[in-house]
């Protein structure tokens, strides 16, 4: 995109749109904050499908470590390198990648201020910052505590997942691994239970007398029947899942003493503690006024434009989008509709009608044992929320189905290869 075109655009989009010299469509500045599942998918899709869009991606990290497949690292089935991706190919597709933090958004001037001091102008902005951990929501769980009780729930550079893995390696046989699992809504509803499974897979091979105590703030969870069938079959006697109604809510932790304390004051000593704290939308969504009092962001379910700040589209885990889960696949699927809607709006057209938003979450519960959940969603008529398509989707069949489980583990790997190529390829 030439500088002149861009500047001219800022001066008057409507005039340019009708100018005969622009037979296709004018260049327009799409800026994207966050280069994770939502943001990288949006940048890649925008460059492939709408080459006239001038795309800038703002992401502090030069390598993105995916949360998906991080649990496999705990079991020793993957290494860090195989779940890390660079932005070189996105840049080669013509996206301008700026490795910096977005610190503030001025929705009137339509600019983003970077931590480095520079300011980036946009015509439409996508914000996909993921989640922030609510330190302090569990008493005693502040940022310092994560060095003792890792959360391993935000991508970072992988240090949190590696720390948890090292702690498991140092665990004595017969030791206790505790998990504290939050209430809904949180990132990746089946994630904690895949993690329990992958930890059990490691322990079964290396510390067969160790135990897992999974303290839950809920009384039910995603793919519960399938997970529990697998635990009974693969790891009998190793996992105790303790729901809220058995005093499973952990309200306080004491990292120095390695203690989880329950709602009714029972102190559980653990050798390794994985605390997955309550969450909110990523910090920039809060400071820019995109989130409401719940800590999450309300959006138009057809365009993903913020319901609070015009010109800014929010996708991914930061949004309020039930019954859709906070998943990488949903971030990827909704990113594409958001970009298509933005392209239409920039051309003065109506956003694409009748979209379908798609989710599949595969979980590995053993080396060759996979299960899945599918959801097919649409915006409601008022564009205020989402509905699941009746009689579709759902979880893998239950029962003794070894071939189904073996194949789903293979297809899960294909999903991972496919979606990461769609983002970073």
């Amino acid at each position: 995109m030439s500088r002149i075109t861009r500047r001219a655009l800022g001066a008057g989009i409507p005039a340019l749109l009708t100018a005969p010299a622009f037979a296709q469509a004018p260049a327009a500045r799409l800026v994207i904050i966050g280069g994770g599942f939502g943001g990288a998918s949006a940048a890649n899709f925008a460059r492939r499908q709408y080459p006239w869009l001038d795309v800038t991606l703002i992401e502090p990290k030069t390598r993105f470590v995916t949360c998906p497949y991080g649990n496999l690292l705990l079991a020793g089935l993957r290494d860090l390198n195989s779940i890390s991706f660079g932005y070189e190919r996105l840049a080669a597709r013509g996206a301008r990648v700026i490795h910096d933090w977005a610190d503030a958004i001025d929705p009137t001037a339509r600019t983003v201020r970077l931590r480095g001091g520079a300011s980036v102008a946009y015509d439409r902005l996508i914000v996909s910052p993921g989640i922030a951990l609510r330190y302090g929501a569990i008493e005693g769980y502040d940022q310092a505590a994560e060095a003792i009780f890792p959360h391993a729930w935000v991508p970072g550079e992988g240090q949190q997942t590696l720390l948890l893995r090292r702690q498991l390696e140092a665990l004595p046989d017969g030791g206790v691994v505790g998990l504290a699992i939050p209430d809904n809504p949180f990132r990746c509803p089946p994630g904690p239970y895949e993690r329990i499974s992958m930890i059990a897979s490691y322990l079964k091979r290396h510390k067969p007398r160790a135990k897992i105590l999974a303290f839950d703030t809920k009384n039910a969870f995603s793919k519960q029947g399938l997970f529990q069938d697998a635990w009974n079959a693969l790891y009998p006697g190793m996992i105790d899942w303790i729901p809220a109604n058995r005093d499973g809510r952990i309200l306080r932790v004491d990292p120095a003493a390695r203690v989880f304390e329950s709602e009714f004051g029972v102190r559980h000593r653990v050798d390794v503690g994985n605390v997955i704290p309550p969450q909110s939308a990523g910090g920039i969504a809060i400071s820019a006024g995109l989130a409401n009092e719940s800590g999450w962001v309300p959006v138009d379910s057809l365009t993903f434009e913020s319901r609070r700040v015009p010109g800014i589209h929010v996708i991914g885990d930061a949004t309020i989008a039930p019954p859709m889960p906070k998943s990488g696949y949903v971030a990827n699927s909704t990113a594409k509709q958001a970009v298509a809607a933005i392209a239409a709006l920039l051309r003065g057209e109506a956003p694409p009608p009748a979209p379908v938003y798609f989710n599949t979450c595969y979980s590995h519960v053993g080396a060759e044992y996979g299960i899945s959940i599918v959801g097919v969603f649409r915006p409601n008529a008022e564009r205020t929320g989402f509905v699941e398509t009746p009689n579709s989707g759902g979880v893998s069949p239950r029962g003794d189905l070894p071939e189904q489980r073996r194949l789903e583990a293979l297809y899960a790997d294909a999903w991972y290869g496919s979606i990461t190529a769609d983002m970073f390829g």
């Binding site: 899709f45 499908q49 696949y329 990827n332 699927s333 594409k336 509709q337 298509a340 694409p352 009608p353 009748a354 979209p355 379908v356 938003y357 798609f358 599949t360 899945s372 599918v374 097919v376 398509t389 009746p390 009689n391 579709s392 989707g393 759902g394 893998s396 189904q404 194949l407 789903e408 293979l410 297809y411 790997d413 294909a414 999903w415 290869g417 496919s418 979606i419 190529a421 769609d422 390829g425």
Partner: protein, 93 residues
């Protein structure tokens, strides 16, 4: 029940959906590869005649074709949507 619901949806929304084929097919790319050309164990579905895709999707929907996951997926789309997706996939090489 399922049939009725999907048919109603298809009749109401058919004209808009054909144009939406490329966007709807994006959901398939998350497993079948970025260009739907196949990824590891998952078969390619790009460049396949539209009638073949439609027949396969109908068989998945009716549980007439064994599948680990495609039955659950195919039941999420109306006839018109499947036709639009199939038309787009057939045009991809």
């Amino acid at each position: 029940m399922i049939r009725l619901c999907l048919l109603a949806f298809a009749t109401l929304a058919a004209p808009a959906l054909a144009a939406n084929g490329p966007l709807l097919a994006q959901a398939c790319a998350g497993c079948h590869g970025p260009n739907a050309a196949g990824q590891e164990a998952t078969p390619g579905i790009a460049g396949v005649p539209a009638a073949t895709i439609v027949a396969q999707m109908n068989a998945f929907r009716a549980n007439e074709r064994p599948a680990t996951i495609m039955g659950r997926i195919a039941r999420g789309y109306s006839d018109a949507e499947i036709a639009a997706i199939a038309e787009y996939l057939a045009s991809r090489r």
